[in-house]
């Protein structure tokens, strides 16, 4: 089993390598235009030459991501569990949340630019909003899906509210909360890049890509996209996978979530 996975991975690396190789060759023989498609050697040279600047853009984006994601997570889990706990609150807020959830973050950007101006306040606020909805939604569903018999059993045995929350509500809805958090993080990431296109001033990977596009500097555009892919791939395969292993897998509920 272990060997098979490794064989596939090796093939994947070879394919990526061949892809880059053909890209380079085609560009050198002018089968594809360098002005439109750039070429790998130029991209790697760009990363090598402007490494520090790129890291600056990356760190700015990550700072925005982490800040807005954590705020959204705290508010989202708290409010979602409250919604799941109380039928009335759920009935009132659920329609509002499902309607607002369908709005892409980038569409909110023009309005928030008027309210908060260009730069961090707008980007982080929209990041919080888009990450909040999947988290609150899933946390509410998680609490609502709890078997009422468990709750009643605990109550009969005299559990206090604090114990009910810590021993029943939180662990039983955790699978859903993790799914919501994961979706929220992915949406937060995508939206922050998108909003950086039109609302950032000076720094951020999205800003870097859009600024380069406006000057038709295709090499930087492709460099940015390559970095986006690598960064989120790494976040997904290390941090998220690790959290899932420690929680969902361990508790015996296996989810191969598509996101």
């Amino acid at each position: 089993m272990e060997f098979k996975i490794k064989l596939g991975n090796i093939l994947a690396i070879i394919i990526i390598f061949i892809f880059f190789l053909f890209w380079e060759i085609f560009a050198n023989y002018e089968i594809i235009q360098i002005a439109l498609f750039s070429k790998p050697s130029l991209i790697f040279l760009k990363i090598y030459d402007n490494g520090f600047e790129i890291i600056g853009h990356l760190l700015t984006t990550l700072y925005r991501l982490v800040l807005s994601f954590f705020i959204a997570m705290i508010i989202g889990i708290f409010f979602g569990m409250l919604m799941g706990y109380d039928q009335h609150i759920y009935r009132f807020f659920n329609p509002l949340i499902t309607t607002l959830m369908a709005i892409p973050g980038i569409a909110m950007a023009p309005i928030f630019i008027i309210w908060l101006g260009f730069g961090d306040p707008t980007i982080i606020t929209i990041g919080i909003i888009v990450a909040f909805f999947p988290i609150v939604y899933n946390a509410a569903i998680g609490v609502r899906s709890i078997d009422k018999n468990h709750v009643n059993a605990a109550k009969i045995m005299g559990a206090k509210k604090k114990h009910l929350f810590l021993k029943i509500y939180l662990p039983h809805s955790f699978t859903y909360i993790i799914i919501g958090v994961k979706l929220g993080l992915a949406r937060c990431w995508r939206t922050i890049i998108a909003v950086e296109f039109i609302a950032a001033t000076g720094y951020g990977l999205g800003y870097m890509i859009w600024d380069a596009y406006e000057y038709l500097n295709v090499t930087i555009v492709y460099t940015g996209i390559l970095i986006l892919a690598i960064v989120f791939f790494t976040i997904e395969k290390t941090i998220i996978r690790e959290v899932e292993k420690k929680t969902i897998d361990k508790w015996g509920v296996l989810h191969e979530q598509v996101s």
Binding site: A12, P95, A102, I106, A194, F197, A212
Partner: protein, 248 residues
Amino acid sequence: MFILPFIVVIPIWEIISQLELIAHLPPPSLIFSKFIFLAFEEGVLAQHLIGSVYRLLIGYILAVSFGIFLGTIVGLNKLISDTITPLLSLLISIPTIAWVPVLLITLGLGDETVIAAVFLGGFFAITYSVIHGIRTVNKNLINAGKIVGAGKYKLFESVLLPGSLVSLIPGLRLAIGYSWRALVGAEMLAAMVRWGVGKMIFTSRMSNVIETMFLGLLIIGIAGLLLDRLLLFIENKTVVKWGMVTEG
């Protein structure tokens, strides 16, 4: 029941913005009169909507066709799957919106770019759901099919394809959400696109007509929700009704 919170929220919103407690917050009455103006007097709203729906349909249908095609190939073959899956998860890490500058450079500033963005938005989700669907088909059913003498094609048509619907149909719903968001973003960024709900918000930015922006947001939200409900309806009429998944 679904309407109730809106009946409560809208008057409060109206009061807040009439008293100007929040700056630059247009009251719902103003947004509504803007809606009447754009929809009936000027008549441009329909054009915006038609432009968006047209691009969404083409891009989404392409995404579904190619997604099912690639997903089936990858799902059926273990070696191809091991090879392609890392590539797919690398590509899926790139936000659809980040492709837009590349598309603008290579495909131009018009419709093609927006349609390609819609396609990319939906394609990966559908491919993933087909791969997942085929892989999770009950092995007993496959073996039973083989025992009764089904050939490769018959097995695919009668066992694997229906079996993978469990995952494909929710995947279609997930994908239309991604496609819709990609559509709005790409319309905002593509300069040569004249009509479209995303464009409507972006052009009103230039003239600072904030009630048009809010109207655009509401339309995008409601249309997105309706698309989602449509796919949910299909989900309930198919895989849920057939008892393949429980209602979610």
